[in-house]
């Protein structure tokens, strides 16, 4: 199979990430001087405005989901508050025929990709299936085991390549998942088979309670790419303009046959791992406060307002869209889910086994006696 000729000829230096994470807009919302010099161009105004719109909607999704958990409407919710820029950029950098492989913390990315939002919460509200058809928007189910979905992404990309399609696959994971064996196997397979895949690691500093220094002492997570013979890049994960630019470059590279790459986005999980977690046991308020200043929404708002791209009318329209989304979620999730226990036997196999037919009959009998 093909391997990267470039890597053999040119050695590994070109694979190294930039010394500091790529940033195009700083935390005060100012354009970073010389930011275009590294080859990453600022996305145009319309794209940034659309990204901002999705950031605001994404933040509202996080807030609404948290409230619904507190109201007992969902079993659990892993918040991505603070990571919206990574997730919005992940959704916006792909074409319709590309694939997204999200994790359980990537709800904002899945919704930004266009998946029907109430369905996205199906598993989290305590149902038994993923709630949406992965083929409809080319979004795999949100993976709960860590890093396993990266290999599925490689397989989809490899099949696309064998079929001659120009599909690109973007696979997401967190910093903790980079310690898993499947992370290693996925990146190695992707590089060896030279498939059109991009791996985005949202480094939010913690795997539940465990800080990054206990996962890895590599110079950065992006540096791991070098060992697989693919380029690595680091980006400010709270700068949606930079994430869009870096991911856009990686996706285009993959689409042109340039092979896979790894992007590490530096971000922060502003809330606990889930509602069941207590983040005060492992990190200080001061640490969290420091990240408040780097919020992905406020910096884009400042930049767009300063550039005259965000009018008060536009802002109002975005806020209204976010409220609409929240209402859709509330209406959808406040309605009691229609759960049919006998459905549990329906999709284990394409054709039900005789044993499952027996077991379904047993449950049906129990249910009929309950009703009687």
């Amino acid at each position: 199979m093909t391997s990267s000729v470039d890597a053999e000829v040119r050695g590994g230096d070109f694979l190294l990430p930039s010394a500091a994470p790529v940033q195009l807009i700083d935390q005060a919302g100012r354009l970073v001087p010389g930011s275009g010099d590294g080859g990453y161009l600022l996305p145009d105004g319309a794209r940034l405005l659309e990204a901002y719109r999705q950031l605001v909607i994404g933040r509202r999704v996080n807030d609404q989901a948290g409230a619904l958990v507190r109201q007992g409407r969902m079993a659990v919710y892993p918040s991505s508050h603070g990571q919206e820029a990574c997730q919005v950029a992940a959704a916006l950098c792909l074409g319709d025929e590309d694939w997204l492989f999200p994790t359980y913390r990537d709800t904002v990315a899945v919704i930004a990709r266009g998946v029907e939002p109430v369905g996205v919460f199906e598993l989290l509200r305590g149902s038994w299936h993923s709630g949406y058809d992965p083929y409809e928007h080319k979004v795999a189910t949100q993976a709960t085991p860590l890093a396993t979905q990266l290999l599925h992404a490689v397989g989809v990309a490899h099949a696309a390549k064998l079929k001659g399609e120009d599909t690109v696959v973007l696979a997401l994971c967190g910093d903790g998942a980079t310690s898993e064996g499947d992370f290693h196997e996925a990146l190695n397979f992707a590089a060896v088979f030279h498939v059109p895949a991009v791996f985005l690691v949202q480094n939010n500093e913690y795997a539940i309670s465990v800080p990054l220094r206990h996962q890895s002492v590599a110079p950065s997570l992006a540096h791991k790419a070098v060992g697989y013979g693919m380029p690595g890049e680091r980006v400010d994960g709270n700068d949606v303009a930079a994430v869009l630019a870096v991911l856009g470059h990686a996706v285009e590279r993959a689409r042109q046959g340039g092979g896979p790459s790894l992007v590490e986005a530096h971000t922060y999980r502003m809330q606990a791992h889930t509602n069941a977690d207590d983040a005060t046991r492992y990190r200080s308020d001061d640490e969290v406060k420091a990240w408040l200043a780097r919020d992905p929404l406020s910096r884009m708002q400042a930049y767009l307002s300063g550039a005259g791209l965000l009018t008060p009318e536009e802002e109002a329209s975005i806020a209204a869209a976010a409220e609409d989304m929240a209402r859709v979620l509330r209406d959808g999730l406040n309605a009691e889910p229609r759960l049919d226990p006998t459905e549990l036997f329906r999709h284990v196999y394409a054709e039900q086994t005789p044993q499952l037919r027996e077991q379904e009959a047993l449950l049906r009998d129990e249910l009929s006696r309950e009703e009687a």
Binding site: L151, R346, Y349
Partner: protein, 341 residues
């Protein structure tokens, strides 16, 4: 479902080894459907350590049959994605115990994808695993790992024992809409039989989910599968010489399980012994015994017995004969089936 008795080998047939039947099935499947791709460790130019993929890369090219990095989770995980995207991957785990690194992919994803997506995503893929002992293999090369897979809802688990089934069941597994764990008894790779390939190639009765009566008998039923099938048949031969008629049921398909054929067989004789290489505790053999007792209690003249491997790690080559079910141990179990009562 009805019991199917194997037809006698056709005179116009050809002699094939079990291994060659598998190779032929892979080649025929690849010829018939460009979506079928074969990959794993050493399956390319070498043709696999057991040569099951011999010649496939040469004939179909390295996009259809290729070597992967040495990583079993990677092989199975990549197969999941390829199956999601329209291919029919057939992957090889080099040996039974080397399949364990892929266990999370198999249990958490391969087995659950259809259910987890409410039927939207099906995974037509086959995981081929050379399995079992009897070849004097060193440690980690002789495990009987069927119970791990059979215990996992969503997997289809096959263990053919005849040359004809090796061909026909692998073809059927590749056509199957669900993921199949295809257990190939290593010690039978070199066994031979005369089969009529053209007949096997023609559409026939499904074999997945169907046990067969491998030998008719009236006094007791031996229920077995995979590597223990020839041993059970040899035991039936020996018993016949002593005037006892043993029926042999070849399960072939562990999941789905053919309760109907097994139950009818045991009811017809009233006595049963389950024979399998795997350690007996919490095994497929245990499940079979439980199912037979539940369904045939009033037809049984004696408790159903098991002859299985001991509950020990698979022994060293020179000791494996003490561990594996043999003819004498099977006949001793048959002798214990309360004939005097």
């Amino acid at each position: 479902m009805t019991a199917v008795t194997e037809a006698p080998a056709a005179t116009a047939g050809q002699q094939l080894t079990f291994a060659k039947a598998l190779t032929t099935a892979l080649a025929d499947a690849m010829e018939a459907d460009p979506r079928v791709v074969v990959f794993g460790e050493d399956v390319g130019p070498l043709g696999g350590v057991f040569r099951i993929t011999d010649g496939l890369t040469r004939r179909f090219g390295e996009e259809r049959c290729f070597d992967t990095p040495l990583a079993e989770s990677g092989i199975v995980g990549m197969a999941v994605g390829m199956a999601m995207n329209g291919m029919k991957p057939v992957v090889e785990m080099q040996f039974d115990a080397f399949a364990y690194p892929a266990f999370e992919q198999v249990v958490s994803h391969v087995a659950k994808m259809r259910n987890r997506t409410k039927g939207h995503v099906s995974l037509p893929m086959v995981i081929r695993i050379p399995y079992g002992g009897g070849i004097g293999g060193v440690e980690h090369h002789c495990d009987s790992s069927e119970a791990y897979y059979a215990h996992t809802p969503g997997l289809t688990v096959l263990a053919p024992a005849t040359v004809a089934d090796a061909y026909a069941m692998l073809r059927e597994a590749i056509e199957y809409p669900d993921p199949v764990v295809f257990l190939e008894p290593k010690k039978l790779y070199w066994s031979k039989d005369t089969v009529e390939l053209d007949a096997l190639r023609a559409p026939g009765e499904p074999r997945i989910g169907r046990a067969v009566i491998a030998r008719e008998g009236t006094d007791a039923t031996l229920i077995t599968y995979g590597p223990s099938m020839p041993t059970a048949l040899a035991a039936a031969d020996a018993a016949a010489a002593e005037g006892r008629s043993l029926q042999v049921v070849d399960l072939r398909s562990l999941v789905p399980f053919d309760d109907e054929t097994v139950t009818a067989a045991v009811r017809s004789t009233g006595r049963a012994v389950v024979v399998a290489e795997a350690s007996g505790f919490a095994s497929v053999a245990s499940e079979i015994v439980a199912r037979v007792q539940e369904r045939c209690f009033h037809s049984l003249a004696a408790p159903v017995r098991r002859v299985t491997g001991f509950d020990i790690p698979f022994p060293a080559p020179k000791l494996e004969k003490y561990h594996l079910p043999g003819v004498d141990r099977i006949l001793d179990a048959v002798d214990d089936l309360q004939w005097e009562d």
